[in-house]
Amino acid sequence: MKRKINEKILLYKIKTKKDPEAFGQLYDLYIEKIYRFIYFKVNSKEESEDLTSAVFLKVWSYLIEHKEKEVDSFSGLVYKIARNIVIDFYRSKAVHKEYPIDILEEIGEDDHNLYKIEMNQEVEKIMKDIKKLKYEYQEVITLKYVDDLEVSEIAEILDRSQTNIRVIMHRAIKKLKSFQENNK
């Protein structure tokens, strides 16, 4: 609740006073989450960084140019824009026939670049399993447990009902559980 009120105050400052510092504070709050959100989708550090930068610039432009539009939550807005930017990124790659390894290996493929980092075996396994999940399952799982968003926020970002999100979460966890059991 406190976080939401703080975000709304910062949003108010941006919309009414065009306060860059307030936007800077929101950037600090969301940069890691958005990077991770994008990284899970593009699996490339460089592209994640570029797309994350683009997301924040687009959010700023949206807030300044669409002052009359109501923004209920900053998280909803920033994740929606991030999602759209990722979709545009894929489209652009498809047009130029640049099939990125990340997309080709979207589900079920090992990404060695991703796993070059040091992490224990268990986490490595769960990341592999998440990668095996359906795209929408991945989104919901990462938004909920990695980025700590509430179900209502995820529902807003993904344009689905909260019940639907809970069902997806349940199914995703069930699927992960089956993967874990198979691994044993």
């Binding site: 919309k15 860059p20 950037y27 890691e32 769960i126 559980k177």
Partner: protein
């Protein structure tokens, strides 16, 4: 099992590596982004508008509620408050306005509304009180108009005088109606009426002294009538047993009326004395004027004759009536002592009538005297001007030339020194 999986997922973000962004990149990217967005911000700070208020409220309340409930409600309250306070402020600001001023029509409109509302929701005794209050207000206005003596003060005073008469007449009807329908309320109404009548008379007391073109006799008459009428009603209802009031109290009410009319008689007597003095002054002026301007003396002599005859006639009437008034008042007091209250009131009524006649006679005499006085003054002015033209002008011119020269010489000497 599910919990373990969830815990593992949550741990993912704690590991360094590509899944989490590089802290150096975060800082660098922030710097770049801030530079970029600062360039898009105009230096002029945005001005305040009401949308900011709704957005600020939206921080704590969901936007849907803000725009669909809070905003209409606030606007409604604001408009209501502004309208009401504006109206109240305007109306209260006009409460001190006088006839002839801009706000006076608003003041009268408010009062008329008050009367209409009272006629719908109030009892007749309250209505009588309201009309007496209004009459008292008018009397105060007349006094103020005369004291301020601005343009059209006579006309404005007359406007208020007409309204005052109407208010008293309406109040009189209401009192009669109260006497018939609610005799138990007669005492309360009577007290209020006599009190207000006293205020009205007090305010009008010096109006004629300040401006003798204003005639307050009629208003004084109806004010006295309503006051005496109210007391008479109390006495009658007491005799009928419909009003509970002690002998002493009712006697006091009648005695107050006798005192009041006695005071009026004294005022009229004083006015008569003032007019008598004016007559003497005019007579002496007439004598002087006649000797000075023998040629134009015909019209003056005519005036002298007419004024004298009027004055003699009036003086006789006044003297007779004052004598009669004093006699009647003494009789009225005796009647009160002997508990013949209705007879005493009848005497008071007679005295009021006589007093009114005296006041009227004095007023007319005064008018005649003033008219003659102004004519004499006019004649004297013509005579004086003719005399001045022959003698004063050459003398004063010579004096001026001499004095101017001497002054300029003095200045030159001072400059040389």
């Amino acid at each position: 099992m599910s919990r373990e999986i969830i815990e593992k997922i949550k741990q993912m973000k704690n590991y360094n590596g590509q899944i989490n962004p590089d802290q150096v990149w975060i800082a660098k990217n922030r710097e770049q982004m801030m530079t970029q967005i600062k360039n898009t911000v105009p230096e002029i700070k945005p001005k305040f508008n009401f949308k900011m208020v709704w957005q600020a409220i939206g921080i704590f309340i969901p936007n849907k509620i803000v725009y669909n409930v809070v905003r209409p409600l606030v606007v409604f309250i604001l408009v209501g408050t502004l309208t009401t306070s504006g109206w109240i402020a305007s109306v209260s600001a006009t409460q001190n306005s006088l006839p002839g001023e801009l706000g006076y029509s608003v003041k009268r409109a408010t009062e008329k509304t008050q009367v209409v509302v009272a006629s719908i929701i109030s009892t007749e005794e309250v209505e009588a009180q309201i009309h007496m209050d209004l009459a008292s207000k008018r009397a105060k206005e007349i006094k103020q108009v005369v004291v301020e003596n601005k343009n059209n003060s006579i006309k404005n005073a007359q406007v208020a005088m007409v309204d005052l008469e109407k208010s008293i007449q309406t109040a009189e009807k209401k009192i009669k109606s109260v006497g018939e329908t609610k005799p138990e309320k007669v005492l309360e109404v009577s007290k209020n009426v006599t009190e207000k009548a006293k205020e009205i008379k007090e305010n009008l007391k010096n109006v004629e002294v300040q401006n003798n073109e204003i005639d307050t006799n009629k208003v004084q008459k109806i004010t006295n009538e309503i006051s005496i009428g109210a007391v008479e009603l109390v006495v009658k209802k007491k005799e009928e047993g419909k009003v509970i009031i002690s002998e002493e109290e009712v006697k006091k009410l009648v005695s107050d009326q006798i005192e009041s009319i006695s005071s009026d008689a004294n005022i009229v007597q004083q006015k008569a004395e003032i007019v008598a003095d004016q007559i003497v002054a005019v007579e002496s002026l007439q004598t002087t004027s006649t000797t000075e301007v023998a040629t134009s003396g015909l019209s003056m002599l005519e005036n002298t004759v007419s004024t004298k005859s009027l004055v003699e006639g009036t003086s006789k009437t006044v003297a007779d009536n004052i004598q009669q008034t004093e006699k009647s008042l003494t009789e009225a007091k005796t009647l009160v002592e002997n508990n013949h209250l209705l007879e005493a009131i009848q005497k008071v009524k007679e005295v009021t009538q006589v007093n009114q006649e005296i006041a009227q006679a004095v007023k007319e005499t005064q008018k005649a005297v003033i008219e003659v006085q102004s004519q004499i003054n006019q004649q004297n002015l013509i005579v004086n001007t003719t005399t001045n033209i022959g003698s004063t002008i050459p003398v004063s011119t010579t004096t001026n030339i001499g004095s101017t020269t001497s002054v300029s010489t003095t200045i030159k000497i001072e400059e040389k020194n």
